[in-house]
Amino acid sequence: MLDASRQPEPLVRVEGLKMHFPIYTGLFRSHTGDVKAVDGVSFDILPGETLGLVGESGCGKSTVGRALLRLYEPTAGRVIIDGEDVAHLSAEKLRQKRPTMQMVFQDPQASLNPRMTLAGIIGEPLDEHTSMSRAEKTQRIYELMDQVGLNRRFANRYPHEFSGGQRQRIGIARALALNPKFIVCDEPIAALDVSIQAQVVNLLEDLQERLGLTYLFISHDLSMVRHLADRVAVMYLGRIAELSPSKDLYSRPLHPYAEALLSAVNEPDPELAARRNRIILKGDVPSPANPPQGCNFCTRCPRVFDLCRQVKPDLQEVEPGRFVACHLFSDKTTAGTTGVPEARIEHNQQGASK
């Protein structure tokens, strides 16, 4: 309890997480390369905090979320959740660890088995991890349904009988069943109508307050993330470009990519909208199978200079609490004196490379 007043221990600590998917080509299916979906990502999440993870499609947001819960086997890196390195737990230990970390999926239609009743779906985690009697289980299922605002009479219905928002509530109830500490929300509102999005986000906030949950909120809806997250990580092509407190990031983004991304947020005031400076990036995102040699963003960055094309920038704290991976903000001395040694490139990765 004494520690709580000082800087609390992070609940989740990710160090140098890499997730490479091998590419096999040719007649003999030889290993010719890797899609570097996540390439050295590090961040902490404090208990009770919401970390937003934003970025465009295909930048590796969802892969981070899935690798965190070890739904994929990470290529390298450590994921410490509540004191244990999830990335290296044995199968049985991992199974016992599952109740502390849960996930809410993007597509509520696809994430619910169409042949199971609502009670069956919400009850599945209970079947797997508890030895409750039938009556206790039913009681707990009803409790969970109350918590997410589903009528108890729906217990015998099937997923197709619900609306999108209700289905997402079922998904949330399932994630809550085992009293987790940490929930990865993988674009939980992307597949929902705008009117329903607000309901679901409010429900998530409400649950966080009541149950003291910690969220990793993955989304491409920047305004929703602003509303929900305490800190926000901006990802680009498998790496974190900027990790800042939400307020600072939205008022003054530092990384050029974050700047461009946030300039795309809709401005409700038409006068401000007319005057606002929309940064439009040119070109396409490079293939994650063959990222640029230097900074991943160097092919599209409006403020690119020589060093960017040769050396990958580290994620560095440039202002208190604000981390940016950009040479514009890195120490001019290191950047200037080291020049462009070839050997540095491999070494100069974000986070620890093991």
């Binding site: 899935r66 599952r98 169409p114 042949r115 099937y158 399932r174």
Partner: protein, 307 residues
């Protein structure tokens, strides 16, 4: 909202829903009735119609006079080429044919589903199991069955007695050589299913692979399996008749529907009824099983249920 003011149904079993839906499927109910009638015909029939279907009159003159008779009160379906009662033979043969069809189908579906699920779900087994399936597909079935019967026929018959032995041999032979198509169908749907998010969700809960398969994968491949199964019964009945025809299935004095067909088709033009009766019986069975399968598939799918 309290429990006292409204009645909340306890979570109920899925099978009641399935039966409720099944009952509303007209074709399936008709199919079930027909199949039950056929089963009653072959099971209860012999107790009502007490004529021995294998009895041949020892008096040669009488036997020759009683051959190939048209329907009469003494023989409602007529007699065959050695004067045996066709009705009694239909009953006898039906029992064997139905049993062979059902059991062979179960064997083939069981093997097919197991192979399909394993190769679809576990990537490491996929290559091996699928190449094995290809191997079986490429084997010429009839010669294989003939060799099987030839090699193991006497062994099995000695161990289990001639009737049960032949039955086991025929059923296993047909089952072991007809599972490949269902294996491929099942593998295909498992490959698609295992990438669905609900399987990922189950993994994130910590459900072990075997329970993911039982709880999430199998119920969702049921419709594909059901189609293969209903077609499989028909195929098994036909294959059995082919085997009997080649003299490697049941002995000729031991009737099956397929065997009756084969006996009758020689004199198809003069005595068509000898072919028509077993033909109708096989067709009705296959048709009713198909309808039942159709109804079951619909009833097992909650999305169609209640429509």
């Amino acid at each position: 909202m309290t429990d006292a003011t409204q009645v909340i149904e306890a979570p109920r079993s899925q099978w009641r829903d399935v039966w409720d839906q099944f009952r509303h499927h007209k074709g399936a109910m008709a199919g079930l009735c027909v199949l039950l009638l056929i089963v009653a015909f072959v099971v209860i029939g012999p107790f009502v119609w007490r004529v021995d279907g294998t009895y041949i009159d020892p008096d040669a003159a009488k036997m020759i006079l009683g051959r190939n008779k048209p329907p009469s009160w003494a023989h409602p379906l007529g007699t065959d080429q050695v004067g045996r009662d066709m009705l009694a033979r239909m009953m006898l043969g039906g029992k064997v044919s139905l049993a062979v069809g059902l059991v062979a189908m179960l064997v083939s579906i069981f093997i097919g589903t197991t192979v399909g699920v394993l190769s679809g779900y576990f990537r490491r087994l996929d290559g091996l199991l699928m190449r094995m399936t290809d191997l079986f597909l490429s084997l010429p079935l009839l010669p294989l069955l003939l060799v099987l019967m030839f090699l193991y026929g006497n062994l099995v018959k000695r161990a289990f007695g001639p009737e049960l032995g032949t039955f086991l041999l025929v059923v296993l032979g047909i089952g072991l050589t007809s599972w490949m198509h269902s294996a491929r169908i099942v593998r295909g749907s498992v490959l698609a299913l295992k990438e669905r998010e609900f399987v990922l969700a189950a993994r994130s809960i910590g459900t072990p692979a075997r329970r993911i398969i039982l709880r999430h994968i199998l119920p969702n491949v049921v419709s594909a399996v059901m189609v293969a199964a209903t077609l499989g019964i028909a195929g098994a009945i036909i294959t059995e008749s082919v085997l009997s025809f080649l003299g490697l299935g049941f002995p000729p004095d031991f009737p099956t529907w397929g065997g009756l067909l084969n006996e009758g088709y020689v004199s198809l033009t003069t005595y068509p009824s000898r072919v028509i009766w077993p033909g109708i019986a096989i067709s009705l069975t296959v048709l009713s099983v198909n309808y039942i399968g159709d109804g079951l598939r619909d009833a097992l799918d909650p999305r169609i249920r209640g429509r």
